[in-house]
Structure formats: C-alpha cells, structure tokens
C-alpha cells in the first residue's frame, strides 16, 4: 500500500525537533526522546489532583515525573504550555473505532456480526485497521485510547472487545479480550427478539453452556470427547474469561427492571458486569453502586426512544456519580467512532447537568482505564504511566476548545488528518491555480 512518506516528512518538519526522528523510526526514535512540558495547568486525574503551574517529564514513552520546576534532561525537547490545561489522553468506550470506515459501505464496516447465532467470538481485534482515517480525526481532538466494540449483535451476544491506542504503527492493540458485549434490549420489528423472556433464556443458556463447556473443556478436546451445547465452540471459548470473572461482561440494557435482573444474575454467578446505555440506570443507582457495577453511557440521550427508556434524563450521569457509581462516557451514540471527538462535549454536558467537572474528566480517562483493566499503564498523569498527554487551548470539556499537542505513548502526534488536508486543499476557492487536485 501507499505509505504517505512525503506527508510524514513535511509534518515532521513543521513540528521541528521530533519530526525527523518520526520519519526514521516512527515509534522507537521519538519515544526514547525526553519531552518536558512546562507551566501546565495540570489535571493529573490521579491522587495529586490538579496542579497549577506544574511540569510533566516524558521519557521513553512514559511519564517519568510530575511536579513544579522540573529540570530538563540534556537533549530534551521543552514545550511551554503557558498555563493551559494539560490532561491525560482521552478514552472513548463502546465505539467501533478502527473497525468501521463508512457505516453504509459494507466492505469497510466490520462492526456488525453477520450471523443470527450468538457471536461472542466475533473479535474486533481481528479487524483493527491502524490506517483507518478515523484514527487521526479522533486523536487530534485528544482521543488516545478506545474500547473498541462491535455495535450490532448476533443473537444476544455481540462480540469481544479490545482496547486500542490511537498512535501510529502497525499494531494498535493494547489489550485483547477486554470483555464480551451482550444485547438484552428487544430490538423492535418482528421475531423472538421482541420478548424479554426469550432474550433472557438465550442469555442464560449460553452462559450456562459456557460454564459446562469450560468445566469439561479438556475432555471435549480429547479424541472422542463430546459436548451438548447450542452455541459454537469458538463462542463458548470466547466466554471463558467472562464466566471466570476475569474480564467484564458488557450488557446493553435500558429498562430499570432489566438492569436489576441482570445485576442479580451477575452477582449470583460472580460475573464482572458493566452496564451499557441504560437510560434508566439512575433509578437503580444505589444498587449499582453497592454492587460496584460501572455504567457506560452517552448522557445526552434524554428522550424516550423506546418504551424501555421512558426515564431517560440528562441527569442520569450526575445521579449515578453522586450515588457512587463509576461512570464512563460513550461518544455520540448514533456513530461513536466517527464522532469520537464528541466525548468532551458529552462530558461537558454532563457537567452542565449536575456532574462534578473533575468526575466528568475522570469518566473519559481514569474510569475507563480502571473498568477496562488498563489502569496500570493509562488513565492518569502519574509517573510510570504511558505518556498519553494532551495540551489544550482552553477548558478541555468546552465545545470551543481543542488540543494544541497530543502525545501517545510519548510520541508527539502530527496534528493533521484527512479532514485537515481537505480543509487546506479548498481553503482558498478564489485561487484557481493550481487546480485543487494539485494542492
């Protein structure tokens, strides 16, 4: 395929010090270099809280030190944040980012399992495209991580999620098998998926099968071994980490009564449950908090789109947060991959509707890091973490703000995308030469 070497080079030149190294060795060369960000209004989202006029030292892709008046190691690139906000890179959750280029162009869209059976084994890690044009579009707006998931589902189970970073290079996967997504909402139309008991039975049966299968898995794999389950072997394999409580079961559900039902099931069966969507989650807030079950949501969804979310409200996130539930935000729900950059707006609107600002920032950094099991390397600006760092030109949750610099694993990202190139090609319409196609 065509590698845009020329563009990488010009971008590198405009970014001075680290650009040339990026061209030679996109990951390693830059990552080894030290960068010191000075005079930041630093939202660590960690135990140090918010630090005024603080510095961040980045080296070998990691955050090495955070504090006031840090000394630059020799050869370090020094950047002055001029008192502007600096945050961890942001994380989107429950988005087909990296597996979907154009929703309606089927061969570019790998976000929907094409089968009617359960598809727990539908693994997004098998489809991540590091060259997706959506990745630079999202990262120049501060998004550096994604819990990438399918969006549509087979029969109840949808597929296996993965955590990716949004940097450059051939392999973006940070964590495979980061959880299995299931769909418990009736999806309208005709057929069995309209009835909750049917959906519930399939959900239970598949998980029962998975437990039975895993209990005798060695036997099944012996010559002459047998099993008697409805589901495919690979789907039962994929459910292993979930039934063992090692990785989360992500359940999309809206109605309060069904949230209670799945909550009880997860407790009985010792599952690590994460509730997705959940327009009526606030009605179950205290139970969710007591069970330490997080909720992933686009908090802007305040309409009764179905009879399952008649309780939808803009106060959902604030009420959950106040009750002690761990909240994680999804970007604009109707297309969370293309609109990954709306994650700051979703968080800002939650603040406008009662959520604490610091908590809203945590819901797009630290909280997803913890819920998706990558908090040892990402989520806060603390020594030892990967250096996903964003310098902003204003309040990061404000709709008029944007990053001025984005680091992923210590590497300064080019602040360009297919969209900035289209912009620059057409920005001067009056000038007829050269034709736009030559610009």
């Amino acid at each position: 395929m065509r590698t845009p070497l020329f563009k990488l080079l010009t971008i590198g030149l405009s970014l001075c010090a680290f650009g040339g190294a990026a061209f030679a060795q996109p990951q390693d060369g830059q990552a080894r270099m030290a960068t010191l960000i000075k005079h930041a209004h630093l939202y660590t989202v960690g135990s140090a809280g918010t630090l005024n006029d603080a510095d961040v030292l980045i080296q070998s892709g990691k955050i090495v030190q955070v504090g006031a008046n840090l000394a630059a190691p020799s050869g370090a690139k020094v950047m002055d944040a001029h008192g502007k906000p600096v945050t961890p890179g942001l994380m989107v959750s429950w988005a087909p980012l990296g597996i979907n280029e154009l929703d309606l162009v089927a061969e570019t869209n790998d976000s929907a399992p094409n089968q009617s059976l359960d598809s727990a084994a539908f693994d997004v890690a098998d489809a991540i495209n590091p060259n997706s044009s959506l990745i630079p579009v999202a990262r120049i707006r501060g998004v550096t991580r994604s819990l990438t998931t399918p969006v549509d589902c087979g029969d109840v189970f949808c597929g296996t999620a993965a955590v990716i970073h949004l940097g450059q290079g051939p392999d973006l996967i940070v964590k495979r098998q980061a959880g299995v997504l299931a769909e418990l909402e009736p999806n309208g139309g005709s057929g069995q998926k309209n009835s909750r008991p049917d959906i519930w039975n399939k959900f239970r049966e598949t998980l029962d099968d998975a437990r039975e299968y895993w209990a005798q898995r060695a036997g099944y794999h012996r010559p002459g071994g047998s099993r008697d389950q409805r589901s495919n072997r690979i789907d039962l394999d994929a459910l292993g980490p979930v039934i063992q409580g090692k990785e989360p079961l992500l359940v999309h559900v809206e109605r309060a009564s069904t949230i209670r039902q799945v909550l009880q099931y997860a407790q009985t069966n010792k599952l690590k449950l994460v509730i997705m969507g959940a327009g009526e989650a606030w009605e179950v807030a205290s139970e969710l908090a007591a069970a330490h079950v997080p909720v992933v949501l686009d908090n802007d969804l305040n309409l009764p789109f179905s009879f399952s979310d008649l309780g939808a409200t803009l106060k959902n996130a604030a009420r959950l947060d106040a009750a002690g539930v761990t909240v994680v935000f999804q970007p604009q729900n109707d297309d969370p991959a293309h609109y990954a950059r709306t994650i700051t707006q979703i968080a800002g609107n939650a603040v406008a509707n009662g959520m604490k600002w610091d908590h809203a920032l945590a819901a797009i950094t630290k909280n997803p890091a913890e819920v998706w099991g990558i908090a040892d390397t990402y989520g806060t600006l603390e020594p030892g973490k990967d250096a996903d760092v964003v310098i902003w030109d204003g309040d990061p949750l404000e709709v008029t703000s944007a990053p001025t610099a984005v680091f992923i694993k210590g590497v300064a990202m080019p602040m360009t995308s297919r969209q900035t190139e289209l912009r620059d090609r057409y920005r001067d319409l009056a000038k007829k030469n050269p034709p736009h196609g030559y610009r």
Partner: protein, 476 residues
C-alpha cells in the same frame, strides 16, 4: 374535481360579506391564494391553514444583558423590550412600560429564538417504532403529493426538549428516501393538540427533494432509480410533467373553455414550485451533485432555497453564493456513508467566509437541543483556521440564515423592532457547553422557564409514566 369546486360554504359566505375588503385577493400579482378558498387562475397553496394564535403575553423588558441581535451586532449591557408579542425596541437604557415584567439580564445573554431548518420531530417522533414512523412515503420515488404536516404527531416529546434548547421554530421535512419527498411545514415550537395549531403563520411551504445515495438505496432493487443519472432523470421527468400540467391549467384559466383539467395534487405542488411559490429544500451532500441540481433548477426555472446536509458545500461555496442558495450543514458529522466522507468541521465557517449563506441544522432529536453548541464548534473551527468570526456573526447561523432560507426573515430570526418576539435568555454565553436556555419566549409569551416547572410543557405521552415523576418534559 376541479379546484373551483373546493370553495367551502363558509368561505363563500365570507367572500360575499367581505367582497370589497377582499377584492385585492383576486388580483393574482398581489396574492397567491386565500385561506382555504380557491382563487381564480391560481393553484391553491394554503390547504391546511394555520390556526396558531400567540399565547397571551405581558410587556417584558430584559435589561442589562449581552444581546446578540443576529444582525452582526453585539450589545454589551443591552436591553430588549417586548410589547404585544413583538420586539418593540432593542438598545440600551430602554424604559419599562407601566406594568412591564422586568428581567435582570446581568451576566445573561439574549439571542433570537433558534430556528432548526431541518428536523423530523413529529414525523419520526419518540418513541420510535413502526406505528410512529411517518417520515418517508417510500412507496414510489416521487411523491410531491404528500405533506409532512399530515404526519406530524404534535405529542412528540422531542418538541419539548427542543424548546429547552432555545428552539422556537422548525422546518419539519419528509425524509430523503424519495427524489421528491413531499412538502415540508414550518412550525412554531408551541404546545398544541393539532399540527395546524403549531403552523408558523405566513411561512411559505417548501418542497423536500433528495440527491444521491438514499433514493438509489431505497429504489435500486425496486424499479429504480438505481444510479445518480437515474436520480436526475427522475427530477427532470417530474418537472417536465408539472410544466405540462401547469400549461393545461393556464390554458383553461385563459379560455375558460370546456371542463377544467383533472386536479392532480402532486403536480399542483410541482406547478407551484415552477411558479417559485414553493422553494425547494434539497438534500445533497456532494458538491458536484449540487452543481448538477443548480443546472436542473435553471432548466425548469424553480428555486432551490438550500442544500441540506451539504457536507461538501465548502468545495462549491462560490457557486452557492452566485446562485443565492444557502448551505445547511452539521458542525462535525461525517463518514456515516460514502457521500458524507468529505465532511469537515470547518465547512460552515468556510462557506460563510466565501460569502455564501451558512446555516446549522440538526436532523436529529438530540442535536436539536444543542444547536448553540454545534454553532460554537463550527465557529471555533473557523477561528482555528484564522477566520476572525465573532459570536455576533456566528449567531446568524442558527437564527437569521435559517429564517432567510425559509422565507420568514421578515417575521423572525433577528432581534429587530417589529419582528415576532421569539427570544431566548441564556444563563451563560450560548457558545459554551455549560450554557442553558433559561427563558424562551415565542411571540412574546414566556413558554419555557428553566426555573419554573409549571412553565415546562410536557407531552401527553409522558404523563403518568412513573419514571418521569414530576420533572417537566422540557427540562428532562
């Protein structure tokens, strides 16, 4: 049945009684139609007349606010005076009439009511299910005979949410399955049991048409169109037929010989489009397709008021300016299909910078609640590419410009004396994510007050739904 048979009894009586006063109605050059009554030598154009009446209002003075008039003017510590449902004055140090309600505008912002030029509230309402999906008459590719107003469910809770976002008027369009989707309707965002009770008085009808992928997707396997060239052939065939229909009526009106031609409701609408009495609101993503539609427009002599979802308007902004066609855009939607692949966040600012008419739209029951934020994003994107866009200017993208594209700028869309008092008071700069519409006035009547649950309309649908408690529909 010819149009002359449509004169209702009460209409005939009224005309007899008011012959002198209404004589000018009969002069076609002065007036296109009468209310519910067929005028000679004209196609009828007001078949479902508005019954909207402004709610009672009190004289109101908003004092000492930052006022964005949508005429490129920002007044720091400005006043807006509302009397009899109209804007009486905008300025500084205005006197409150006796008995006026005075609102302290300190630290507040005042703007015209937001106009969403592209909404499907009511025709694709919440809850969304088969019973409520009334936005696309996808039975054949050209359905000029249908009207969105006949599909609107006034109890869509989405109207109340939009009101809390400062939206005072909306164009409700048929969907984009069809080449010619039918007439749209402009509504005031007022609670009413009937659609007629929401209809914006005096707003022209518009015709929804659609370029590109959607008609191909819907009809490609159902007899076509299957291609873009099939799309264009479909528009031209429809207008050629409409031109013949119009000619047959004109001939009849001139000669009064024989029976009148058979009435065809769809061709009647297209004939009014050819008469430039009904402008076209054209769903069109790609720049090259806009250029093609401009040629079709010139061929048949109709008027395209706006290209909607115009993801590539920035590529042809000069052409739009030359033809006086507005571009109706999202702030940052893109990529959900091939024809949306080149959408960029700078689109609105670039179209505006080129001197063409730029307008935001939602096309979405969530987005309509935050058009101020969408404009803020577009403004910020423009500023980052070096355009010195003031908020006094950007406010027009959601007020003045959509009013212009809908032909209602003489009535609303700016804060100027004599206009309908469609006014929003914000608790912060409206171009902030933290801003809320605090008070929304429509024709001078306070119809939403964030601090007063009694001034928060609720849809019938949401009554008695246990989970909603008593939170009030609009602020939900």
């Amino acid at each position: 049945m010819g149009p002359s048979n449509r004169l209702p009894v009460w209409g005939a009586a009224a005309i007899v009684a008011l012959t002198l006063a209404l004589a000018w109605w009969l002069i076609p050059s002065l007036h296109s139609s009468s209310s519910g009554a067929q005028v000679a030598d004209q196609f009828p154009n007001d078949d479902f007349p508005s019954t909207y009446k402004p709610r009672p209002s009190k004289p109101t003075l908003i004092r000492g606010a930052t006022v964005l008039t949508a005429t490129d003017k920002e007044i720091g510590s400005g006043d807006v005076l509302i009397v009899d449902g109209k804007i009486e004055a905008v300025g500084q140090h205005l006197d409150a009439p006796q008995g006026a309600v005075v609102i302290d505008g300190k630290n507040k912002f005042v703007t015209p009511g937001i106009i969403d030029i592209h909404s499907h509230l009511g025709v694709y309402p919440s809850p969304s299910n088969e019973a409520t999906s009334d936005g696309n008459e996808a039975t054949k590719p050209s359905t000029p005979e249908v009207r969105s107003e006949n599909s609107v469910w006034p109890q869509d809770p989405g109207f109340t949410r939009a009101l809390a976002g400062g939206v005072t008027a909306m164009q409700i369009l048929p969907g984009s399955a069809n080449l010619i989707g039918g007439r749209s309707v402009v509504l005031k965002n007022v609670w009413s049991t009937t659609t007629q009770g929401m209809k914006f008085p005096g707003a022209p009808y518009d015709l929804k048409m659609a370029c590109g992928e959607n008609p191909k997707r819907v009809y490609g396997e159902k007899g076509g169109p299957q291609t873009l060239m099939g799309d264009v052939a479909g528009y031209r065939a429809a207008f050629a037929k409409a031109a013949a229909y119009r000619a047959s009526w004109r001939k009849y009106w001139k000669t009064k010989a024989g029976d009148p031609p058979d009435r065809d409701i769809g061709l009647e609408t297209l004939a009014l489009v050819l008469d430039k009495k009904i402008p076209v609101q054209m769903h069109c993503y790609r720049g090259d397709q806009m250029a093609t539609m401009i040629d079709v427009m010139h061929e048949f002599g109709f008027r395209i008021a706006a290209f909607h979802h115009a993801a590539e308007a920035y590529k042809v902004a000069d052409l739009l300016k030359k033809n006086d066609i507005c571009a109706v855009m999202w702030a940052d939607w893109w990529g959900f299909k091939m024809e949306a692949y080149d959408g960029i966040p700078e689109n609105i600012a670039m179209v505006d910078h080129a001197g063409a008419c730029a307008t935001i739209h939602s096309d979405d029951p969530i987005g309509i609640q935050r058009l101020n934020q969408e404009v803020a994003k577009a403004m910020a994107a423009g500023r980052r590419m070096g355009y010195p866009i003031t908020r006094a200017h950007a406010i027009a993208w959601m007020t003045r410009n959509p009013a212009k594209a809908l032909g209602i700028l003489d009535k609303t869309g700016t804060l100027e004396a004599g206009k309908m008092a469609d006014v929003v008071v914000w608790d912060h700069d409206p171009f902030s994510v933290y801003a809320h519409a605090e008070k929304v006035f429509i024709d001078g009547a306070l119809l939403y007050d964030r601090s007063n649950p009694k001034l928060s309309p609720r849809s019938d649908f949401e009554l008695g739904q246990e989970q909603n408690g008593h939170t009030g529909g609009a602020g939900q």
